[in-house]
């Protein structure tokens, strides 16, 4: 196994913990993802894929257990430190894209740069560069509602890449886009892997099986298979 970039140890995630309606979303998850790996988290709907991706991307906290990023225990990090990790190391692509409806494409891509003090000119230059690379040169000033699902997803990918992160995580990236966009997405991931990035995708779509070099299969919140 190469150097682990993310490791989980006995991670549990319960919602409404201790209450009658408690939901055990994840139970005792142990996994390891190494640098430059293309990891696929698989499983049926409701198996806990999104929850696991949220935990390892630090946008949510586990109920129990440890998550280590480059062997550093994330539970010891403050809210501000976790924000900085997300800003510099992790690029997130959400299932429903989570674009800000009132911002045009280039601003949606560049807003993670605002707290870094990057000037407007530089923000625009960098977002344009990525948007052009993703074939969105004609959509730079379009608002999300003026774009197709595939285009919105490419904007979300551009936003995830704007800070040149080491890890790119995507949640169900093929669920809201057409076949052509899926092709573009796979090309993008392949390209990113070639550049040494770590890619973690949660999806029930078997299309990723040909591209990934590590698979984790979840069922009812349990990790039942790691390849």
């Amino acid at each position: 196994m190469r150097d682990p970039i993310i490791r989980t140890e006995k991670v549990d995630k319960f919602y409404y913990s201790g209450r009658p309606e408690e939901v055990r979303a994840l139970s005792q998850i142990n996994l390891e993802i190494s640098k430059n790996q293309f990891a696929l988290i698989r499983g049926p709907s409701g198996s806990g894929k999104t929850t696991l991706l949220n935990l390892i991307s630090t946008v949510d906290r586990p109920t129990r257990g440890r998550i280590l990023l480059l062997e550093q225990d994330l539970s010891k990090y403050s809210d501000a430190e976790l924000s900085r990790i997300r800003q510099k190391r992790i690029g997130l692509i959400f299932q429903n894209f989570n674009l800000l409806s009132r911002l045009p494409a280039w601003e949606n891509v560049s807003f993670p740069l605002l707290p870094l003090g990057v000037t407007e000119g530089e923000r625009r230059r960098r977002s344009l560069e990525i948007l052009v690379r993703l074939g969105l040169e004609k959509r730079v000033n379009h608002f999300p509602e003026q774009m197709s699902g595939g285009e919105q997803q490419r904007v979300a990918i551009a936003r995830a890449l704007i800070n040149d992160p080491e890890i790119i995580m995507a949640d169900e990236p093929t669920s809201n886009i057409d076949a052509e966009s899926i092709g573009t997405l796979l090309d993008t991931f392949r390209d990113l892997k070639r550049k040494g990035k770590t890619i973690i995708v949660s999806s029930h779509d078997p299309i990723f099986l040909d591209y990934c070099d590590g698979t984790f299969f979840l069922k009812d919140g349990n990790l039942v298979e790691s390849i």
Binding site: A80, S83, Q87, F111, P115, G117, T119
Partner: protein, 391 residues
């Protein structure tokens, strides 16, 4: 250092951009703030305006006012005291005055009986002539307009309808309130009207500079040795009268501020509700910002800047609205709280003064209101895990 500066500038421009993008919500919040703030600014301006005019009139008035003290209230004083006061060392002049109030065409009017030559410098004759003869009166321009009186017209007043007055002239004054309710006449006419011959409501004493306090003490001292069958004298010098005025207006302004504070307190939850419009979308937005690397403090700074912009926009607009309200609507609805019997629309220019301190408080209130409305929900959202905020 440059990055830090750029970061704050980025957040400022983003805050401004957010307000423009959500212009409907921003406009509602600004309008609500103006609605809350401008009555307060107007009221304080009116209070200060009246106080200012009143203090000028006190300043122009006598140095000592003497009445009888009837269980702590002013009571009419006999004219027999005049001669004694005139002979006192340091006295320049002494004259009696009758002041009383009566209803005139359902309006409360103030009658002042005073020697014509002793009328305040602030009063300007604008029509007719000064009262000289028995039964002649000079009436404030605004009052004359309301009760439809012209120079030369005769009229009677309710408590003593047997006495007929005739308007000899009309006056205007820098003290705009005076022109709204004052009827000036000779001392004799006023004492006859109020049926208090041989008495005055007060005796006005003008002194040489520096003698007022000593004379006030001497008059008081002499009063304590007099026949105990007559109530003691009540002596008020200029500084005491000033204090009474100030206390009276401060009390009124205080009552208004207390009422306003209640309204202000009610406005906070209303503003919370208003600023909560689109909160679900805002919650998701904050979640996305946090998920893409923004820190809680950066989100808070952006929202605080939004609120600052709202506050700094609302407060000057509220001050401007108050000025417009005073100039074009003459303090309608608000002035009546400070000036009795003027109704919704005053018939004279309501005095007002816009001072820096109330304006500063307007800014402060606007910012406090928006901060309470904006920062708390933001902090609550920004401190939960982003996944929860985005859900």
């Amino acid at each position: 250092m440059k990055d830090i500066m750029n970061r704050h500038l980025n957040l400022l421009f983003t805050a401004a951009g957010n307000l423009i993008r959500n212009r409907g919500r921003s406009l509602v919040v600004v309008l609500c703030l103006i609605a809350v703030l401008f009555p307060f600014i107007s009221a304080i301006a009116i209070s200060e305006g009246i106080k200012f005019q009143s203090l000028i009139s006190v300043e122009e008035g006598a140095d000592i006012y003497v009445t009888l003290d009837h269980y702590g209230s002013n009571a009419p004083i006999s004219l027999q005291h005049l001669e004694r006061f005139q002979k006192m060392e340091g006295v320049v002049k002494v004259f009696p005055r009758v002041i009383g109030r009566t209803y005139f065409a359902d309006r409360l009017a103030t009658i002042v009986g005073i020697p014509a030559e002793e009328i305040s410098r602030s009063i300007r004759l604008v029509q007719g002539k000064m009262f000289r003869e028995k039964g002649e009166v000079m009436i404030g321009k605004a009052l004359a307009k309301v009760v439809h009186l012209q120079t030369g017209v005769g009229f009677t007043l309710s408590p003593n309808p047997s006495k007929v007055f005739r308007v000899s002239g009309m006056f205007d004054s820098d003290m705009t309130i005076w022109s709204s309710n004052l009827i000036l006449m000779t001392f004799e006419d006023a004492s006859e009207f109020f049926q208090m011959r041989g008495m005055a409501t007060d005796i006005l004493i003008y002194t040489r500079p520096g003698h007022a306090q000593r004379l006030a003490r001497e008059i008081m001292g002499a009063s304590s040795y007099r026949d105990s069958s007559e109530p003691p004298l009540r002596v008020q010098d200029k500084s005491l009268v000033k204090r009474y005025f100030q206390r009276g207006f401060n009390y009124k302004a205080g009552v208004f501020t207390a009422l306003f504070t209640v309204a202000f307190a009610l406005a906070i939850p209303a503003l919370l509700v208003i600023s909560g419009f689109g909160q679900a979308e805002r919650k998701k937005e904050i979640g996305v910002l946090k998920a893409t690397g923004w820190q809680t403090q950066e989100v808070m700074e952006m929202v605080a800047l939004e609120n600052l912009i709202i506050g700094f926009t609302s407060a000057p607009l509220a001050i401007l609205s108050a000025m417009v309200w005073m100039k074009w609507l003459n303090g309608a609805f608000i002035a009546q709280f400070f000036i009795a019997e003027i109704g919704l629309m005053a018939s004279f220019p309501v005095p007002s003064r816009f001072l820096p301190l109330p304006s500063f408080f307007a800014f402060l209130f606007a910012i406090v209101l928006t901060m309470i409305g904006g920062l708390y929900p933001t902090w609550k959202t920004a401190t939960v895990p982003p996944a929860e905020a985005m859900r």
